[in-house]
């Protein structure tokens, strides 16, 4: 996904796409670490694209906080049910 295409989506659509990566991570959490981490990596990439999109100018702190949560799960400093991130969107 490149930035130009990403910018064509609404904020809601962008969050739903991040949400779909979270759901993928939910499926693989505690089952297949490679797929789990792959979903998180993709989710963090999409958050990064949001940070580069002017539509999020007033919500950069929220994005940074979300990214931090992804990083915690990725680094295994959080091992609880990752579906909490989906409920938070």
């Amino acid at each position: 996904m490149n930035l130009d295409r990403w910018k064509t989506f609404t904020k809601s659509q962008q969050l739903l796409m991040i949400g779909s990566e979270i759901m993928r991570a939910v499926v693989w959490q505690h089952k297949d670490d490679e797929k789990f981490l792959g979903a998180l990596e993709r989710g963090m990439h999409l958050i990064k694209l949001c940070q580069l999109d002017e539509k999020w100018q007033n919500a950069k702190a929220m994005l940074a906080g979300l990214q931090e949560e992804f990083q915690k799960f990725s680094a295994k400093s959080r091992v609880d049910d990752i579906s909490v991130l989906y409920r938070a969107l």
Binding site: S12, L16, G65, E69, A88
Partner: protein, 141 residues
């Protein structure tokens, strides 16, 4: 009680207004404007939670004592309230569960380091309490 039903200009959706007292003793018209795209509704008076299913996303305006519920994303509910005159600073996200009548205070929109809320959970106990009371008054019968 008078009841008016008209079509919302912004969303082409039905809007219901009727005279009624609302939670916290404030008297306001009930306005339920369902956004067909996001599913979000602004709710100002008691509405059974099971109307929405087992689990719903909720955004509460802690100053106006109203909430928006039933959206796909918390930001959709927040945007509905902002269009209705709410200030973003007064909006907090939560999730409500009809069967157990539980509430969790986890939402992406709650991350606001500038006012001391660094995580997705509402950390300030006073704000949590306000959100809880408004949800209980409006959604939990």
């Amino acid at each position: 009680m008078t009841l008016e039903i008209f079509r919302s200009a912004s969303y082409n959706s039905l809007v219901f207004r009727c005279g009624a007292a609302v939670a916290q003793g404030t008297v306001n018209p009930l306005v339920v404007g369902s956004n067909p795209t996001t599913g979000a509704m602004i709710i100002r008076e008691k509405t059974p939670l099971n109307t929405f299913g087992d689990f719903i996303k909720v955004v509460v305006d802690i100053e106006r004592n109203i909430l928006s519920a039933g959206c796909e994303l918390h930001i959709d509910c927040a945007e509905e309230l902002e269009k209705d005159g709410s200030q973003l600073a007064n909006l907090w996200g939560a999730n409500a569960y009809s069967k157990t009548k539980q509430i969790d205070f986890v939402s992406f929109i709650n991350i606001r380091p500038a006012i001391g809320n660094r995580t997705m959970e509402i950390e300030n106990p006073e704000i949590r309490k306000k959100v809880e009371v408004i949800i209980q008054n409006i959604l939990f019968q």
